[in-house]
């Protein structure tokens, strides 16, 4: 029963993919109605199964493996298609299927009337299948199917509007940049296999202790390369902002709530290895901290509503990596969950804004929308408050826990990076809110008439997500208070590692913790107030500041020219090398082959002679066979063929000669 239900979780969306995919390929045999019902229905079923599995796991937190079948094998390697159910998997399952379900429902409204409606849902469900394999896999290879599968779906969905050049380019870029990470991940898998002789998590983590620190370090770094690619951390972050070319629900599901968090999940899953490599862990933290701040600064000046949110996502993922880096694995997952709620909410409500404005995404052409689309405004406000760290909302709890943990464990530099990023976050989110919803309307005239609140099918998911964004943080504190909430208790068996003395630090007293909490809160308020000052009290200030700090402004407006630098450093040189190889290849051919050709003309004449005198002479059996073959060829096309047939026969002539030679040698020995 347990095995069956676990297996069904990815199978439901898979069936929907098959049905909808075939429907598209066979020319739309059924309507959009049926297509979307299949799509969200299958995800709902997966969600219900996930809830059931969670119920089972509450009683038995120890990991359980479900083997579907033996995938590939030979000698000492066996790779099963199998699933691992433990508390971490359960949490991820609920996030993926739960948020996924809401976004599917929302999409029914958002994508209404689109030409590629069924195709869209087929891709979305394929994404669900991949993501479920990713979080459920019991070994690295199943994880890797999901890992690359979500990359593929991301590619397909970014390129959903495939006749837009920018979308097509963004799709390719996303896949290729992800592949760089995947290559690192592959090496990590090989390293793991070389060290443990198996790829199953449970066996590996049980024996992780026997790893020497150099091996642990190299595995951890290779895994990190993978995680950095998938979770859009520095230096592989460039694909995520471009990924906003996809439809907005895609940005919400894939590029905010689920896929991009895969890197965080993977690091937490492998914490047993990271714990053995403190240096690697530190690198994780630094990557996270720097990315958090780096992306947050870019977010300060972007003017595309989705791009602000995209950089915000990169930044928030940086927080999660920072958490991993300081050993706060549970906090990382906690933030992953709350982020899934409020970032999905923000993206979907941004989608609702875009929907209302007939596709407008530039915040400079928005403003004063709060009265026109009040429901969207309300939920967007909730989302902003949650991400900015308004007290007692979900983001406040999780972000505070990360920063607190960093500080308490002595990572002051990382704390400072995170705190600064938190300030920027509060600022740019408030800025986004003010510029979009308040002040005077700058909406284009022809768009203004069509502004309308979204249909209920879109609003209800928003309300659910808003509710979760408000209260979602409570799972982290109820019933045991800070760091003893249900969430922590539940995940404890997964992240507990031998020899990690994390608990001792808690004894430093709660006073520090409360002070830190207050500081984080103040930082958030400061960020909000700065935005309030710039965009409400002194609206002329931003332009003045912009002019005064022209250099810095241009730098971050152009995203530090990272894309341009990569183009110059890798893409263009790669193509240039390819071109010069291509030239060499073609030039090489011609010179050599023309020379050989001339020689052949001679040898052709020679072999014709040999053919006449040696083979047709009927010297031996081989010769006779050749004779026959030559006659057959003649009949085929007598005149033209003869010359070339002679060349072909030349090989056999050599054979005959060699055999003769060899017989002679044999006789002489």
């Amino acid at each position: 029963m347990f095995d069956l239900i676990v297996t069904l979780i990815p199978v439901f969306p898979l069936l929907a993919v098959l049905a909808n995919g075939l429907n598209v390929m066979l020319g739309h045999r059924y309507s959009h109605e049926i297509a979307h019902r299949l799509a969200w229905g299958s995800v709902l079923l997966s969600f219900l199964c996930s809830v059931w599995v969670l119920g089972q796991t509450l009683g038995h937190p120890e990991p359980r493996t479900v083997v579907a079948y033996r995938w590939f094998f030979g000698a000492d390697l066996t790779v099963n298609l199998s699933f691992l159910i433990d508390p971490l998997t359960c949490i991820m399952l609920l996030v993926v299927t739960g948020v996924g379900f809401l976004i599917h429902v929302y999409s029914v409204g958002y994508m209404h009337g689109e030409e590629g409606f069924t195709r869209f849902f087929a891709y979305m469900n394929l994404f669900m299948v991949s993501m479920l394999l990713l979080v459920m896999g019991s070994n690295y290879v199943v994880l890797f199917i999901g890992w690359e599968g979500v990359g593929l779906c991301s590619y397909l969905l970014i390129g959903y509007y495939y006749d837009r050049v920018s979308a097509a380019k963004a799709a390719t870029k996303a896949f290729v940049v992800n592949r760089i990470g995947d290559a690192g991940f592959l090496l990590a898998i090989f390293l793991v296999f070389a060290n443990f002789g198996t790829l199953e998590y449970t066996e590996i983590f049980a024996r992780a202790g026997q790893l020497d620190s150099a091996a642990a370090f190299s595995i951890a770094i290779c895994l990190l390369i993978g995680a950095v690619g998938k979770s859009a951390q520095l230096p592989l972050h460039t694909w995520l902002p471009d990924a906003m070319e996809g439809p907005t629900p895609v940005s919400a599901l894939i590029h905010a709530a689920t896929m991009v968090t895969a890197g965080v999940y993977m690091v937490v899953r492998n914490h047993a290895i990271y714990d053995l490599a403190p240096d690697a862990l530190l690198i994780v933290g630094v990557v996270g901290g720097v990315t958090a701040l780096f992306a947050a600064t870019i977010g300060l000046v972007q003017t595309d509503i989705k791009r602000v949110l995209a950089y915000s996502t990169v930044s928030q993922l940086g927080f999660m990596f920072l958490a991993c880096g300081v050993g706060a694995y549970v906090a990382a997952i906690f933030h992953l969950v709350t982020h899934a709620f409020f970032k999905a909410l923000l993206f979907l409500s941004a989608g609702s804004v875009i929907h209302a404005l007939s596709g407008e995404q530039d915040i400079r052409r928005m403003g004063g929308l709060w009265s026109k689309i009040p429901k969207t405004h309300g939920v967007f406000l909730v989302g902003t408050a949650a991400i900015a760290g308004f007290p007692f909302l979900s983001g406040w709890w999780s972000k505070d826990e990360i920063l607190g943990h960093a500080f308490v464990h002595g990572h002051y530099v990382l704390w400072a990076l995170g705190a600064t990023a938190a300030f920027c976050t509060a600022f740019y989110m408030s800025r986004l809110l003010y510029v979009t919803f308040y002040g005077e309307s700058r909406v284009a005239h022809e768009v203004e008439h069509h502004i309308h609140e979204s249909p209920n099918v879109m609003v209800y998911p928003l309300l659910v997500l808003a509710f979760l964004s408000v209260v979602g943080g409570l799972i982290g504190v109820i019933p045991g208070g800070l760091e003893n909430g249900w969430f922590h208790q539940f995940l404890q068996p997964v992240v507990r590692s031998a020899g990690a003395g994390g608990e001792a630090a808690h004894e430093e007293g709660h006073l520090l913790v409360y002070i830190l909490m207050a500081v984080t809160t103040l930082i958030g308020v400061a960020g909000w107030f700065t935005a309030h000052y710039f965009y409400k009290l002194k609206p002329e200030q931003p332009d003045l500041l912009m002019n005064r700090m022209k250099g810095a402004y241009t730098l971050i407006l152009n995203k530090y020219w990272v894309d341009e630098a990569y183009d110059k450093a890798f893409v263009e040189p790669g193509k240039a090398v390819g071109r010069s190889f291509d030239k060499a290849d073609t030039a090489g051919i011609d010179r050599v082959v023309v020379a050989v050709e001339q020689v052949t003309d001679l040898s052709a004449a020679g072999s014709t002679w040999v053919e006449k005198h040696v083979i047709y002479g009927g010297l031996n059996v081989t010769g006779y066979a050749n004779h026959l073959a030559a006659r057959v060829l003649r009949r085929l096309q007598s005149g033209l063929v003869h010359h070339y047939a002679a060349i072909l026969v030349a090989g056999l002539v050599v054979l005959v000669n060699l055999i003769v030679l060899f017989l002679w040698l044999g006789g002489a020995s």
Binding site: M25, Y69, R70, W71, F72, F73, G74, A75, D76, I145, G149, Y155, G159, Y162, D163, V165, A167, A168, A171, T172, F175, V176, R179, D182, A183, G184, L186, L187, F190, L191, F193, A194, G574, K575, V577, G578, R579, D582, D585, I589, V593, T600, T622, A629, L633, R635, L636, Y644, I647, L648, A650, G651, L655, L658, I659, F662, L663, G666, G667, S669
Partner: protein, 536 residues
């Protein structure tokens, strides 16, 4: 696990491999002699290819999995005086190549149904002849017989490129192809003869019978002294490397693939004869030399991976792109082969089959495009997904398989190859994974420019999407790609036994007879007289 034989008559009751080899050839002769009506010719050719496919599936069906023994063996004397015999048989190494050849030929017949009108009869005869000789190459266990089919195969290949090629330089391409292969095979032949001489010396010394042999099994029994192995290794290497083609002997391939007919591109890209030669003969016969030259061979593989991929990146002609991607893929195969461990060999063997579905499949799809636009140049495309969505979808599926996306067959092959390479030396895999990145880059970049984006060229005639015959071909290929990608167990079971035996053989070496269980012990000849006049 002794490499004994199961005779075909014992196992299935009829000489199945002889039938598989000669059925298409006989079919070609029958076409030639008896038929004039074009429609009937088409149908007969298709029927022969279909029957061949059916028998080859039967071969897989009756094959005993997880076994290293030679099955369906047939032996007959041919030229006993010099030790040439007629010896056919399959084991895990070659069993999958025969159905693959039959499968591709069958699809080619379907493809050619309405696309080839010029000189139809000789065209179909050449295709059938090619099929028969290729099956002969795969099934032969006597090196001269092998060589015979190897050379004979050139005849239909040559005419297919020359007479039915699509490019203006097809004459040149055909000649170049033949010259390369011939040059290589002459060297290979010398290597084969040296193997025989070595056998002969050992046979004389140990008074074993027969005195001369080109038989693979006999040659396996006689270790080649390590100092001679390098010479023979390189002689044979040239034969197989020119054919494969292995970088830097690859330059005939792009020309042949671009100038030749689509069907020949499918064969050249899909039926990996050259690398088959390595795993069938070179590695088992010359394990010490293979190990000595591991770094050179794996290095050539790595260079091919990177070199081919970088050139593919900048191509604007899709067939040229696929040609260079083939070179890159062959680099992977070489890398896995000369990792010389179980996963490397297994992955390479599987990958050779995989490429017969993915790369060869892409050539079919290029053929479909060619039918519609008359060009494989990027400048003629742009936004094709709007016009031909189904074609675009299949192109993506097969392309991702060739890129090695998990869930497709390419992943299983590449994963095993890279794992094998990693276990040989981590650096091999560290460089090899670059090919994984570049592969995605060149394929998707081309796909983006050809299929995505706005429609840049309004076609003169409206482009029609796939028609039923094309549907059938594309679906058949995708089914195989996903089958091997998701559930490769039946195929792995077939090859694993022999791969294990080969890996053991490489590990233990050919010299250590006592522990070598890859071969049966040579039969000592008790009281036969010495050959007259050979000894003082």
């Amino acid at each position: 696990m002794i490499l004994n034989e199961v005779a075909a008559l014992q196992q299935i009751g009829f000489p199945i491999l002889t039938i598989l080899t000669f059925l298409p050839i006989v079919g070609a002769v029958v076409l030639w002699l008896f038929q004039e009506d074009e429609d009937l010719i088409r149908k007969s050719a298709l029927a022969v290819a279909g029957l061949e496919l059916f028998i080859s599936v039967l071969l897989m069906w009756e094959f005993i999995p997880n076994s290293a023994q030679i099955q369906f063996a047939e032996r007959a004397a041919w030229i006993p005086a010099i030790g040439v015999g007629y010896h056919l048989g399959v084991d895990g190494i070659n069993v999958l190549f025969i159905p693959l050849t039959a499968f591709l030929t069958f699809l080619i017949m379907v493809y050619s149904w309405d696309t080839e009108r010029n000189l139809l009869k000789p065209y179909l005869m050449a295709l059938l002849g090619l099929e028969g000789t290729m099956v002969g190459v795969f099934a032969s266990l006597d090196l001269i017989l092998f060589f015979f089919f190897w050379e004979l195969m050139l005849v239909p290949s040559y005419f297919l490129i020359k007479l039915w090629g699509t490019g203006p330089n097809r004459q040149y391409a055909a000649l170049k192809y033949v010259l390369y292969t011939l040059t290589g095979s002459v060297l290979m032949l010398v290597g084969i003869v040296l193997l025989n001489l070595n056998y002969h010396a050992a046979a004389l010394a140990s008074r074993t019978e027969p005195l001369y042999s080109f038989d693979f099994i006999d040659l396996l029994n006689v270790p080649v002294p390590p100092e001679k192995q390098a010479l023979i290794f390189f002689l044979m290497f040239f034969g197989f490397a020119f054919k494969a083609p292995v970088f830097p002997f690859h330059t005939w391939l792009p020309t042949a693939l671009v100038e030749g007919p689509i069907v020949m591109s499918v064969i050249l890209a899909g039926v990996k004869l050259g690398t088959f030669g390595f795993i069938r003969f070179t590695i088992p016969l010359l394990p010490e030399a293979s190990k000595d030259w591991l770094w050179l061979m794996a290095g050539l593989g790595l260079m091919a991976i990177i070199y081919g991929a970088l050139i593919a990146l900048v191509q604007t002609d899709f067939r040229r792109l696929l040609a260079y991607s083939s070179i890159s893929h062959l680099g992977f195969v070489m890398l896995g082969l000369f990792a010389l461990n179980f996963q490397g060999l297994q992955g390479s063997l599987l990958q050779m089959i995989n490429l017969g579905f993915s790369t060869a499949g892409l050539f079919f799809l290029v053929g479909f495009l060619y039918q519609r636009t008359g060009s494989a140049e990027l400048s003629a495309y742009g936004g094709l997904a709007r016009h031909v969505p189904l074609l675009a979808t299949f192109m993506l599926v097969l392309g991702l398989a060739s890129v090695g996306l998990p869930g497709t067959n390419g992943f299983v092959g590449e994963f095993l190859i890279l794992l094998g390479a990693f276990r040989a030396h981590w650096a091999l895999a560290a460089v090899g994974v670059l090919g994984v990145i570049l592969g995605a880059a060149y394929f998707l970049w081309y796909y983006e420019r050809a299929f995505f984006g706005p429609v840049t060229h309004e076609p003169k005639r409206p482009l029609y999407d796939l028609r039923p015959r094309e549907w059938g071909i594309a679906v058949a290929l995708c089914v195989m790609v996903l089958w091997i990608g998701l559930y490769p167990a039946p195929f792995l079971n077939m090859i694993n036994g022999s791969v294990q035996a080969l890996a053991d053989r490489v590990q233990q070496g050919s010299v250590m007879q006592a522990v070598d269980n890859y071969t049966r012990p040579p039969q000592a000849r008790q009281d036969a007289p010495l050959p007259v006049g050979k000894h003082p």
